[in-house]
């Protein structure tokens, strides 16, 4: 199977090795076409965003206004903070030049003169690797002023790396833009969408690192080639990051639509100790979990996962064996979202805290049946009622974990305590302010 994003070539991260293997040829090819042709090619290839929403990349680019009244920007999202997701870091380490080349092509297609690659702050090592690659590319004239000579074209583009500082929410596109602007990472209300009103109020496109890294190969080999890989509705390869109770965790680049069971048993080496699987989260911790008995025949692409009641997310597959305490796992997931909620919208800010408190109560063995129902109620009241998708991301695991593993929760809860007051003689008001009987 041919790999697109992480080819098995030694030292591919070095510029000379990349050039020996046809590096930056795709950019040359792209600059001989018009921006509209590039957008059309990417649209036809069927490339869908790899950051979670799986939106058509070409379509997103086509939303950018034509003309040059305002500067335009490209942001590349390498915030990668979704628990269970660790794919972009492989690209930064093993194939940074293809990312840079993808940025150059995307900027040309949308008419951006500057691009910001936003990488999470914890990735010090990988930021340095990317910066090194970028410096090399600048030095050889593939980026910046000297592009004119290198590619014999008028197009110039600068690429900058922006380092995050430990906020999950900055993976949300509008929070990411606020963060680049030097503000708190608060998501913005949409509309206006970034293509109209993005970085500093200018038209902006935001793509995931993996999405952009796919672009040079699509330009080089044509959209027909790309569209024929994997599932027709979500073509290409996907970086699947497998973690948890498997023998051989790691990132595997496989065609979309690969069977989930194949990924777990063939590539990730099966479950430790040959245990049964209780639960799999197929796309990073915010995606609805699947039961162990639901996995047979499940294909890993956006449409197939939607059909079984989950989502592809970032392709971070978390495997939990039969001995896992799912209530504890859910409490840990809830803790994450409580910590990472930016605090802008009340349902998310308060709701995540309430869910965590209740789940901790369940973990301590002090929960009741009503608590479990209450969790679902809170989750449903967060979902869809917030500015950004973090609310949904916090609500889904709770809602679906309880829906699909209700027996786990029922097994540890106590019977409901009656909330009826035991002494019904006086209401609070009467005891607090006794009205003396009037004596005549």
């Amino acid at each position: 199977m041919e790999k697109i994003v992480l080819p098995d070539i030694e030292n591919f991260h070095q510029l000379d090795v990349y050039l020996q293997n046809g590096g930056y040829d795709a950019a040359k090819l792209a600059y001989s076409q018009t921006p509209d042709q590039i957008i059309d090619t990417v649209k036809k290839s069927g490339l869908r965003g790899r950051g979670g929403a799986a939106f058509s990349a070409g379509l997103k680019w086509s939303f950018m206004p034509k003309g040059n009244e305002k500067p335009k920007y490209l942001c590349v999202n390498g915030d990668e903070s979704e628990p269970g997701s660790f794919k972009d870091r492989q690209i930064l380490e093993k194939n940074p030049h293809q990312l840079i080349e993808g940025v150059l092509i995307a900027c040309y297609a949308i008419g951006a003169k500057a691009a910001y690659i936003y990488v999470r702050g914890e990735y010090h090592k990988w930021i340095n690797l990317l910066q090194k690659a970028l410096d090399d590319a600048y030095e050889k004239g593939f980026v910046g002023e000297r592009m004119k000579e290198t590619f014999s074209n008028d197009f110039i583009c600068d690429i900058y790396v922006h380092k995050g500082a430990g906020a999950y929410i900055c993976g949300e596109e509008s929070a990411l833009m606020n963060s680049i602007e030097g503000k708190r990472g608060y998501p913005r209300v949409k509309p206006p969408f970034p293509a109209q009103n993005g970085l500093w109020g200018n038209p902006t496109t935001i793509n995931n690192v993996e999405t952009i890294t796919n672009v040079p190969m699509i330009i080089k080999k044509g959209w027909e080639w790309f569209a024929a890989i994997g599932e027709p509705k979500h073509p290409g390869t996907i970086l699947f990051g497998v973690s948890g109770h498997v023998n051989n965790p790691g990132v595997f680049e496989l065609p979309s639509g690969t069977l989930l069971t194949d990924i777990i048993y063939k590539y990730a080496g099966g479950v430790i100790g040959d245990k049964k699987i209780k639960c799999v989260i197929p796309g990073g911790s915010s995606m609805p979990p699947l039961r162990g008995d639901q996995l047979e025949g499940v294909k890993m692409d956006a449409e197939s996962l939607k059909a079984v009641g989950s989502a592809i997310g970032t392709g971070g597959i978390m495997v939990m064996d039969e001995d896992t305490d799912l209530v504890k796992i859910l409490a840990r997931i809830a803790k994450f979202y409580y910590h990472e909620s930016c605090g802008q919208c009340t349902p998310c800010r308060e709701g995540t805290g309430w869910m965590l408190k209740i789940l901790n109560r369940l973990v301590r063995g002090e929960g009741t049946k009503k608590d479990v129902d209450l969790l679902v109620t809170i989750a449903k009241n967060i979902e869809g009622n917030t500015v950004c998708a973090l609310g949904d991301a916090a609500a889904w695991p709770v809602k679906f974990m309880i829906e699909r593993f209700r027996e786990e929760f029922d097994a540890i809860v106590k019977d409901d305590v009656s909330l009826e007051p035991k002494n019904k003689v006086h209401s609070m008001r009467v005891t607090a302010n006794p009205i003396a009987p009037v004596q005549i």
Binding site: F86, G164, G241, R332, F336
Partner: protein
Amino acid sequence: MEFKFSEESLQKIEQIIKKYPVKRAAVMPVLYVAQAQNGWISKEVMLETASVLDMNAEDVFGVATFYTMYHKKEPGKFHIQVCTNVSCMLRGGYQIYDAVKAKLGLNNGEVSDDMKFSLEEVECMGSCGTAPMIAVNEDYFENLDKEKALQILDSLN
């Protein structure tokens, strides 16, 4: 405590500002420069950052307090970060966290008296495929178990 950017830092800041069309956008990288120089982000650091970038002090305060990687109090020489999120938890993240807590005698967010160690329970660091992990300052240590994690602590000087 008085804080002024060093010559070297000011040169870095000048380069950083060039990357953005608006000066304010440099605040995050500049706070990193300040943290590298001072070790942590004190009130004085925020005020100085504000004056260098022509920003309101409140805005700098807002940014510095929003992002967890800016230390709002002085961390130890070795800032130990233990991931306990799901992928690490499934492979023993909490055992490591408990062992590290016991060994250092510290709770989450505390600093040892000799300022050598500080401890932080962190959210997912993107090491799920090499879990469990700890990070010491900027370096990742992956594929750990309890013993290996304690050995790493012993090796820090």
